[in-house]
């Protein structure tokens, strides 16, 4: 076994170990949320996942972005079959080990090449949409700073990976034409043969071409391993989490808000004194810290783990915000920002746990990032949940945070306090008593 093989094996091993560790960290962070059992209607869940994540059904609602995204998605899924060969070649020092498949191999390599070109072009168009055309949803202020760089970095990396793949094949193809001993004639190279022409590879010495081929081969595989480890720190994690996140979708009617069973117990005991009030739930131990059950959400511990998975699944495309009636009319609320803030807060909490071995109150909460003004701007119209290509539910977070404001802090809008008083005293949100309820029948 050559030194290159050993270096390769160590690299793949280290990258896999790091990736597994990071995924476990994300999993731990998601599970900081409240327990919620979501496993009803499994058949429907598999169908939703297949349709929405695998089938990209909600992406194509916007045809241009949807079409380009499917190319990138298919490209990455299919080109990764190539990674299998790369890994075998890397370990055993072979070259194009799967070429024994003959005509089918030619077909595979040929389609990888077309897809690679497609991904390259699609990512270039995406960069133009973000940085030249500056579509509104890509320049809104919650993307200032790191989120915008994150998006561009992902696109540039994908272009670089595809370039390396095509240049590698171009050099390989040229060497195959020359009958080089190691570079056996295998595969079809519809795109890279043209690339070789553009860069006049035929004029290069075989040594130079081998160097190009090797450098691109290493760049491609190291790039993929690095990208894999970049995922857990990036919005790009959606490529993995889209699948579980759609499986755990809300299947209930969109405008149905979940019942707080603990409140039911308390209300029943208020109405009927013979019913004992429910016992306070014992504090939950989360990351070595006791979290007491409270009404609504003050911090990430009070949200369902599903809301935290939602936050990690968000790729900040902004379709939610671009459909939000509040945002469209200049209000502060942006459903995308709700998701980004939730994720940033979970990450912040996770870092404290990593540093101290357990959670210690840092005096901050979700409400430090999300203002009351944002929360009170929501009309619960569910345009955002409809628009989200991976079925994220920002309304649930908004509702839980409103519940905290009202039931734990008594913070609301003055007009809503009047509405509460009216409902409580008159049984109607306006100041009309029950004696007036039949007035409409007269005259």
């Amino acid at each position: 076994m050559g030194i290159a093989s050993i270096v390769f094996i160590l690299l793949v091993g280290a990258a896999s170990w790091l990736f597994a560790r990071n995924i476990m960290r994300v999993r731990r962070n998601i599970l900081l949320g409240k327990d919620e059992v979501i496993n009803d209607r499994p058949g429907e869940r598999w169908a939703v996942m297949t349709r929405v994540a695998l089938g990209q059904s909600k992406m194509v609602v916007r045809p241009i972005a949807g079409f380009l995204h499917i190319i990138v998605y298919a490209g990455f899924v299919i080109i990764n079959i190539e990674v299998l060969e790369i890994i075998i070649d890397g370990i055993f020092g072979t070259h194009r080990v799967l070429s024994f498949m003959g005509g089918f191999y030619d077909f595979l390599i040929g389609s990888f090449e077309w897809l690679a070109l497609g991904v390259w072009v699609a990512c270039a168009i995406f960069l133009v949409r973000r940085n030249v055309i500056k579509l509104k949803r890509f320049v809104q202020k919650e993307l200032d700073g790191w989120p915008r760089s994150d998006a561009n970095l992902i696109l540039v990396t994908e272009i670089a990976l595809m370039s390396a793949f095509l240049l590698m094949n171009a050099a390989d193809w040229t060497l195959q034409q020359r009958g080089d001993e190691h570079y056996i004639a295998a595969g079809a190279f519809p795109v890279s043969s043209a690339v070789a022409g553009i860069f006049s590879f035929s004029a290069y010495s075989s040594g130079t071409l081998i160097a190009i081929e090797r450098v691109c081969w290493w760049f491609h595989i190291i790039g993929i391993l690095a990208f894999l480890n970049y995922l857990p720190y990036s919005k790009h994690l959606h490529i993995l989490l889209a699948f579980p996140n759609t499986w755990y979708s809300k299947l209930k009617p969109k405008t149905e808000i979940g019942n707080m069973d603990r409140v039911t117990g308390e209300v029943k005991s208020m109405v009927d004194p013979s019913i004992a009030p429910p016992e306070m739930a014992a504090p939950r131990l989360v990351a070595g810290h006791e979290v007491t059950d409270r009404f609504g959400a003050k911090d990430v511990f009070d949200l369902s783990w599903k809301s935290l998975m939602d936050a990690y699944s968000c790729t900040e495309c902004g379709r939610c915000t671009s459909e939000c009636p509040a945002n469209l009319t200049g209000k502060l609320l942006s459903p995308r920002k709700i998701m980004m803030d939730t994720r940033d807060r979970v990450e912040e909490v996770g870092k404290v746990i990593d540093a101290k071995g357990k959670w210690e109150d840092d005096g901050k909460s979700l409400h430090t990032r999300i203002s009351d003004e944002e929360l009170w701007a929501c009309t619960t119209c569910n345009a955002c949940t409809q628009a989200c290509p991976v079925n994220i539910d920002p309304v649930n977070i908004i509702m839980e945070m409103r519940r905290y404001l009202v039931m734990e802090e008594s913070k609301t809008r003055p007009a809503l306090t009047s509405m509460f008083n009216n409902v409580e005293n008159n049984g109607a949100p306006w100041a009309f008593g029950p004696d007036k309820r039949l007035d409409w029948t007269e005259g």
Binding site: I257, T264, A383, V423, E442, G443
Partner: protein, 262 residues
């Protein structure tokens, strides 16, 4: 209209009669002057179709929808449990309401509190009456008129009902003109989530102005609504553009009652 055309379930039960359906009037339908007209139009339809219906009358109280959406779960559940007790006490099985918010709460949120009913939105109910031939309405005054329908979020996106209101409008021989943002992509009127009862948060524009502008853009004779809150928001929006002389905002029930001269 007088009290005799609107029986209460208490009176009916006392006479030993079980209503075919309970009409949940809702707070807007009971107290809001504009929405009361919708309530009356729907009652005229029910009576014309000889539907044996009843209302709860003074025993009806807010479903709790705005309280829950404004974060006050205690108040919501106090209302809900009280209503469930009354509804179950009368053995109610089937409810119709002209308010998508009441509809959503009764249909989706009461089962968790012990109240399970078949709940229909009035556009679904009217559509069924027409299909069964219990009311016959021919285009009449709306024949060929341009009517656009604004999907209420709590009926459309919330509960996947897009067709019933449209089917009714088509039976009026009207030219149904779709808004750019309609059905799943419908834009909210701005009233949901308890916004109806508060000032909008600071912004550059009111949501109802945005939506009314879009609706006026298709040059309709009538903007049809299926929700008392949407109706108020759109009526205000049309007034904002000084178009109240040319464009009417009407509930589906009002259009049917008017077309059928009920």
């Amino acid at each position: 209209m007088d009290r005799t055309s609107v029986p209460t379930i208490a009176d009916m039960t006392a006479q030993g009669v079980t209503p075919e359906v309970l009409f949940w009037v809702g707070c807007a339908g009971s107290f809001d002057d504009r929405a009361k007209k919708i309530t009356k139009a729907f009652v005229r339809i029910l009576n014309a179709a000889k539907v044996k219906f009843a209302i709860l009358g003074q025993e009806e109280t807010c479903t709790g929808d705005p309280a829950r959406r404004a974060g006050n779960e205690f108040l919501f559940q106090m209302q809900a449990l009280q209503n469930v007790t009354v509804l179950n006490g009368y053995g109610v099985k089937r409810i119709v309401t002209a308010c998508p918010h009441c509809f959503n709460t009764l249909k989706n949120e009461y089962p968790a509190l012990g109240g399970t009913y078949e709940v229909l939105h009035h556009t679904q109910f009217i559509n069924a009456l027409m299909k069964e031939g219990r009311i016959k309405v021919e285009g009449g005054s709306f024949k060929g008129k341009r009517i656009t329908f604004h999907d209420p979020c709590y009926l459309g996106r919330g509960n996947n009902e897009y067709e019933a209101p449209r089917e009714v409008l088509l039976k009026l021989d009207a030219a149904l003109v779709e808004l750019k943002r309609s059905k799943q992509n419908g834009l909210c009127c701005g009233a949901g989530g308890a916004q109806m009862f508060k000032e909008a948060e600071p912004g550059t524009r009111e949501v109802n102005i945005e939506r009314s502008e879009e609706a006026l853009g298709v040059e309709p004779n009538v903007i049809a609504a299926g929700c008392p809150f949407c109706n108020t928001m759109l009526t205000d929006g049309v007034k904002h553009f000084n178009k109240e002389g040319e464009v009417r905002v009407k509930d589906i029930a009002e259009l049917v009652a008017e077309a059928g001269e009920l």
